[in-house]
Structures are given as C-alpha cells and as structure tokens.
Amino acid sequence: MKRMVDNKKFNRQMPAYKLICPAMLVIFALNIYPLLNTFVISFQWKNMLDASKNGFAGLEQYISVLTNSEFWNSVKVTGQFVIMSLTIQSFFGMLIALLLNQNFKGRRFVRGAILAPWAVPTLVNAVLWGWMLNANYGLINRLLMQWGRISEPVAWLGDAKIAMIMIVLADTWRMLPLTVLMFLSGLQSVSAVSLEAGKIDGANVFQRFFHIILPQMKPIILVVLIMRTTQTMKVFDIVYMLTNGGPANGTMVISFYTYYTTFKSLNFGLGATLSIVIAGIIFLITLLYLRILKEA
C-alpha cells in the first residue's frame, strides 16, 4: 500500500522534475561543475610559467597561501571593507527604514526614489565615483573648496586609508537601498500591538526601538548581514576600476588578489586554492550567522 502511495506521489512529481531539469543542468554546468573543478585544481601545481613543476601538489598550495603575507594582507583589507560597509549600511539602512516607515506626504515617491542608486550598474557606479573623487576636477573637492572646508584639492584615492573609505562610500551609495528595502519589509512584521503597548507603558522612542523593534527584527537583520557579508567579501569591480588594489596594496581585497594571481601571474593552481579558501571563509561565516539565526 505504501509503495503504491509512493509511486503515485513520484508520478505526480515527475513532471515537476522534468520541468526543472533544464535549469538544473545549466546550474550544474555554470556553478557546481566549475566549483568542483576548481577544488580539484587547487590540489595541483598549474603554473603556466613554470610547467616543469605541474602535477599533484597535495596540500602544499594551501600551506603556501596560508603562510603568505600578501594573502593575509588582502584578508585584512577585505575584513576592513566588510566591517566598515556592514556597520555603515546597517546603521543608516535601519535609520532610513525607520524614517520611511513613518506616515508622511510623498512617502511612496520617496520609497521608490531611494532605490535609484541600486539600479546603477557596478561599473558605471565606479566610473561615476572615479570622476567625483578626481583630485583636480572632481565634484567633491570642488564643493569642499567652495564651502571653505579644504584649501587644496585632496587626492582621495592617493592615500591607502582614505582610498578604502572612499571605496566603502561608493559601495554604500549603491547598496544602501537594498538594505533599506529589506529592513523596511522587516519593520512591517513588527507587531503594532507591542509598539502601542510600549507607548502606553511610557517607553520612549529609543526604548521601543531597542526592546520591541530590534528583537522582532533579528531574523531579517541576520539575513541582511549574511547576504551583505557574502557580497562585500566578493567585492571586485569597484576596486578594479578605482584603485587597482593600490595605493601600496591598501585596497587589495582578496578577490582582486585572486584574480591577479590567476590571470596575471598565470598561476591557475594557486588561484584555484585562493578561491577555495575564500569560499571556505565565506561558508564558515555563513554557518556562524545561521547558528545565531537559529538561536534567535
């Protein structure tokens, strides 16, 4: 009897499997196979400029990566970028979402308009900020000089620390709307009854936020953090366009370092190893977030 029921269920589900088959094949070809292939290559010496060594490498490339100061510099730089981006985007994302959650005239228009930066392609965004940050002809220096804030143009991308801040700013301008949107959707699920009760009990704005809104928004906050962490860890385009990893490797994020190793130095084995290590780091961070989410 059970077998008959199982067969019936399978037959009912069969069309669904058939329909998703083409998409699964594409996903396998474009995602799973390259990932597996990269994993296999990471255990091989595959340096086009030193073919005599090509062959099985075992864990040697992993050891080489994990003992390489340039790798750890890029991890540090990426970490700085991730932490700065997440902090700024979460803070302002929440603030703007709270404002947009209020009732005011033109709210619909503002909610729509705030998404505009997100529609700008990453490369266009990078070129735009490149020009705004141009030391002699950029908008930012012109405005600051007009307001008397600076007397001489600032080379925003000429100093490692300032260049990193500018990259965070450029990324934030584009990605903040996404954070706002997600927090705004989370705010819709906050119980109006709890908020009302809090008001009646005399809780002020901050108390309502920290004790009622924030706890109820924990799941969506974690989703945003997971999503933005994985996205920021993979940042590439904006660094490629604005600074090329400089000055003095001050913006050499891990994905750019991997790209350089693989395609400029033609060391495919080491590049594959770096990719797997990055994937591993992102995976561990995701697991940590999921654990926190589960407990929440």
Binding site: M48, A51, N136, G158, T243, N249, L266
Partner: protein
Amino acid sequence: MKRKLALLMALALTVSLAACGNSGKEGKAGKETTDSKAGTEAEGKAEDKPEKLVMVTTTDHEDLYSYVADEFYEKYGIDVDIISLAYADVHDKEVTMALGGSQLDILTVDTVWPGEFAKSGIARPLNEYFTEEEIAQLYPAFVDEMSVGDDIYAIPTMTEGKWLFYNKEMLEEAGYSAPPSTYDEMLEMSRNMMDKGICKHGTAWAASQAEGFVCDFNAALYAYGGEWINENGDFVFNSKAGVDALNMFINSMKDNTADPASVSYSDRDNLDPFMAGDTAFVTCWSYAYDFTNDPANSSVAGKVEVAIAPGQGEVEYSATTGGGGLGITSSCKYPEWAVEFIKIAISYEVQKDVLDKFGNMPILKRVLEDPEILKDNPEFEIMAKQFDYAHGRPTIADYSSWSKMLQLNLSKALAGEVTAQEALDEAVRISNQEYK
C-alpha cells in the same frame, strides 16, 4: 493548460539562466567580434587554407588591423575575426583563449609579454618565417623587445614610447625658446612658470600603483645613469641612480612642482591637467600629440609640441619603449597564413597608412625617413630621434608578477611609508630572490 504554461515558464527560465552567462561583451569597453570581408576571392592554394583566422587586439588598434585584414582578404580570400578589447583586458583574453583551447591564431603582444608568452608556450618563435632582410627593416630596439634570447616571439608592427609634450605658449610666456633636455631643467622651468602664475604645477606624473609608473621610472632610471640588471644578471636598480630617480618624483610632488594628486593618476589621467591648461609638461604615449591638440578634448589644442624625453647629467636623453607586435600562437594550425597577415601589417604600403590613417608610429625605418612623410608630419623627425635613446623594461618570464611587486614598493615610497632607498632595496631583494 497548466502543464503547458509550466513548460513555457521552465523554458523561459532555462533560456534566461543561459543568457546570464558571458554575453560576448568583454572588458570595460569591449566590442563584439568583427569580420573582415572585402574584395574578391584571391588566388592561392585552395588546400591548407583556413576558413578564417582569429586575432585579439586592443580597441585602439582595431581600425588598423581591420584595414590589414581587408588587405589580407583581398589577397588571399581568408577572413580574419578580430576580437577587440580595452588594453587592460587583452592579456587575460589571450591567455584564457590560448590555454582554454579556443581558436586564437594571431596574438597582440605588448612589449612586456614576450617572456611570459614564451615560457608558457602560448606563442611560438617566428625566426623561421622571416628572413634577416625582413627583420633588418625594422627598428632593432623593438625587435629586441619582442625577443627572448635569440628567438623572436612577435614581430613589432608599430613603434611607441613616452615622449615629453609641452605647452609651447606657456614656455614662450616664461621666456623659454626650447623645451628642457634634463629633469633638473624641466623642474626648474616648472618652478619659474609656477612663480609667474603661468601654470598651477609643472607637470603631473602617472604615479598610481600601475604599470604606467614603472614606465616612467624606467626612463628616469636610465636618465640618472642606472640600469635594471647588470652584466652578471643581478638586479641592481637600487643603486644611487635608481634612488635619485625615485626621489626626483617624490620630491617634485612634495614641493608641488608636480601635481601632488599624481599618486592617483594613471597614464591617461595625467593628461587631464595638461589639457585643462594647469600643467606645462606631460609625458605620455604617442597618441597624446593628436589627442591634446584636438579641440574636442583639449583646451590647449594647437599649443602642444613634442620633445624627446629628458635625460639627466651626462645622459643626453632617456625614454621608455612601448608599442607591441603580433605573434602567432603555438596552437595555430595555419602559421604560414598567420605569417602572411603579419607581413602585410609590416609592408611599406600599410606602414605608410599606419601613420596617415591611424596616427600610429610605424616600425619600418624607411617610412619615417621618407621626406614626403616628414614634410607633412615634421614632428615625426623629433619623435623618431627618441628611438636612439629608448630603453625597454626588463624581459622577465613572470613580468606581471615582478611588475606588481615593483609597483607595490614604488607606491610605498611615493606614499611616504618608506624611503626611496628602502623601497628599492626591498624590490631588488625580492627580484634577485625570485625572478633571476
């Protein structure tokens, strides 16, 4: 009905997922492939003839090589698919195509790639396909750049270098009748013009962490009497000459003689202050002459002249070579036909047109010595003279990796994190340890 709708949606999903892959547009300013079809079917051996040849080139040279491809088709009836990309993407495209097994017959080879292409086996030596007479027609310095030892891995198709461009009007206003011939002179003239309010800064360097600054440092290193590698094969660019050269850049930015924002400029960005009339000098590639004299781009159009890159002390002049050539992949099934394409590219008729139609500097000596051509383009006499003082960057198999290391150390010195001596000592240490 529901099943048909579901099937339609699944097909749409599959198509859209497949379309999310590479759309065929490459690079920051890439283009789709272009076919060259012109003229009639030429006579030639029907057998052993390829259906087409595939080449990769930069967007800057797409017009030139399309022209060559038209000539090639007219003569042999063979199509050439030209994949053109922004310069920054050409290397990666060629590497991935050649190593990935895609058809790629003709390579664009920049001056610093022969070592890498030779060692990785991407390019094949071309000595057997060209006679000594054919090679002798080309400027030797550029043939040497395309060689690894005695093997020629690409045939140079144009000359290139970084010249000193200057605003003639500014110099005249300051009372100068000739451009500087040394760095000291250039900086002194700059300070004088700045004091008189003629310009904001003397010059702007291409001093960002990129290959552009390696080129400028290369010229300055030789100007100050230094060299990259001595006769024993040791890297020695941390000599007094190297340190003096690097300090020249650093100090000029510190005292504002050069635009302090130069640390954020690529070798294209540093043209902007020059074209805006803020600087009196700029070093740049040959295209800058037409570019800065074009009213569509430049507010100093018509005022820009060219001079040989300056020397220093006893060194009369010193310049960086550039340009590039065409190579043939090891995987090319029809190298003889690819060779014919290259021969057309370096033929006298095409090289004359290289100059007239495309504004590139030709590689054939007799084109630049032609009095008719010099009559119409007097600046080429000056520009061609620079080839006698030109120096290439070192030929290293893993040039990209070496250059990246050097760029980092130079950048640290420019940022003031370390002294020039410390930066060059570290770069030399790593060079001798890993790249000798």
